[in-house]
Amino acid sequence: MKVGLFVPCYIDQFYPQVAVATMELLERLGCEVVFPLNQTCCGQPMANSGFAAASGGCDKNFVANFKGLDYVVGPSGSCVLHIKDHLHDDGDAAAALHIREHVYELTEFIVDVLKVEHIEASFPHKVGIHQSCHGQRGLHLSSMSELNAPSFSKPEKLLEMVKDINISKPIRVDECCGFGGTFCVFEEAVSVKMGKDRIAEHEDNSVEYITGVDVSCLMHMEGILRRQNSKTKIIHIAEILNSVVYAKS
């Protein structure tokens, strides 16, 4: 099974450790991971700002990079959702369609495609789960508080396989953190206020880390945490799932 590793642009540049963890995790779970070297971005920053029409070059480049692979997997619910909903390439419509139908966010790929029931990892820390909206409400990675429907969570299912982890949830279990792409600068005041409120609920739970499936939300919250000189850190779920078990009895 050939899996194309989709590393969103800001992860490539600012959070390479998340991509490393994703790659190592997928390899440990038995995938043949391919990293197409000329990938850049999914085009979401432009599209969500109203410039979807300008992201054609991005789309074309994405298709050229990920064509012919069995699956495309990325550690970001938001970017994956964008590809799933909007990727198109008039020059190679079939390849674009294949990608749209085979692109997965990391945790849904592990749960739904690899059907993994056991992960060898240990993370002896108190961790607060942040539900990233696009993964949750867009990709249905977990149930949402708005609906009267059975509860489930793919990221949580995986975290529960990790030894010694102490998982906690904020009171407003799935409120948005306020990142929202370019919203974070064009609506700076509300964006930051939303982030502060999310963080406050996690800190009320005395978490050491806030984790999630989207680095963008985590980057936003990290920026606020560091400005507040908080001891709370952010960590992507791939990094937790890739924490090797050192001490074994």
Binding site: P16, G43, S55, R137
Partner: protein, 456 residues
Amino acid sequence: MQRVEHSKAAEIFNIDEPRVDWHDDTLWFVREKRDKAAHQLPEWETLRELASQIKNHSLSNLDHYLEEFEMNATKNGITVHWAADGKEHNQIILELIQKNKVQRVVKSKSMLTEECHLNPYLIEKGIEVVDTDLGERIVQFRKEPPSHIVLPAIHLKKQEVSDTFHEHLHTEKGNNDPQYLTEAARVHLRDKFIQSQLAITGVNFAIAETGGFVVCTNEGNADMGAHAASIHIACMGIEKIIPQAQDLGVFLRVLTRSATGQPITTYSSHFHRPRAGQQMHIVIVDNGRTKQLGRPDFRNSLKCIRCAACFNTCPVYRRSGGFSYHNAVAGPIGSILNPNIDMRENADLPFASTLCGSCSHVCPVKIDIHDQLWKWRQILTAEGYVASSKKVGMKGMAFVLAHPSIYRFVGKMARWALTTFPTLLANRKFNPWAKQRELPIAPKESFREWFLKNKG
């Protein structure tokens, strides 16, 4: 009034952080009540689906049902008027007022009359219009618009209501007791009901097969008005139509559960015909609705039953307040309805969202609100209603990201600059990111560089 961009108004709203917290908590409490009510019904999601389908069907057959409604209402003795826009709506009402030599009017809550700016229009013509919904009366005293379509005075604390009542109703200064203040409003409004000659109400549902309509209130003020006055004018948008009386069994169950978490409104009043000696009129208004109906991507925004669940759940609304949306209908639904009426004036609204999608999932008629916000952004950009600086920035970004080697160069430069001139990039005045957030710490190498070194 000069409109202030949503982001600017939100920034001003956020200066008083404890007040933002209070506003946020107050509305979140309503969202929680909604959740409790919705989650108690095993058939909740089925009801939402039914409500959505009935509205879809009604919108697809609007011409037919409106005519059927007109025929049956007329048969019942109701006079039906048609208004193409807000101006015609206001004129029709003024003519009825003048023809009947009315001086004093009471009005229960109707977002349509807010949308048409009926109050200022009538007041300018020398007519006394008294809003009889408690929240609406409070904001009317304060010469403010409502900040929320269900809870018009939700932006005010009880001390502010007390001050307002002290000024207008001469209540005891500093007495913030809600019971005391409500009693004062009650006594004041009783007088207005008794003196009024004409009552205006909104319409929640107009039923084609019966020619009747339903008005929902928690205070009974629509009934007090309509029963005391000799003329009743009900105002409705064309989208309020439903085919049959039995459909109310769906809508009355979802409306108030979504709005406030109550199983049903305290008063769900069914009006079918005027009583002996009374005149009953209904004004059916388009005001841009047929235009929205003609936009395939946005047509189903007309399914809205004005419950405001999307307001209460919206993390942006809760932290920016109703006035930041500079329209009678604020919140997420307002952000997809208002650009239809005036794109230039409302070009900021579809961007006042993180696209988190909570709105679409609390919506009792399943409007895909967040998808429509996204689609409005594309249209507003294509039509040239966004700042040219944003356009240049986005086009530049698109160019960089379409060219892998330029992207890698720019990425490297960004990491280098972040390490070399951290204080320059973190300038709080010029970089909105850095105003209240630290910039990410730049790693030495990108993932690609790591990959080529270790795996290549």
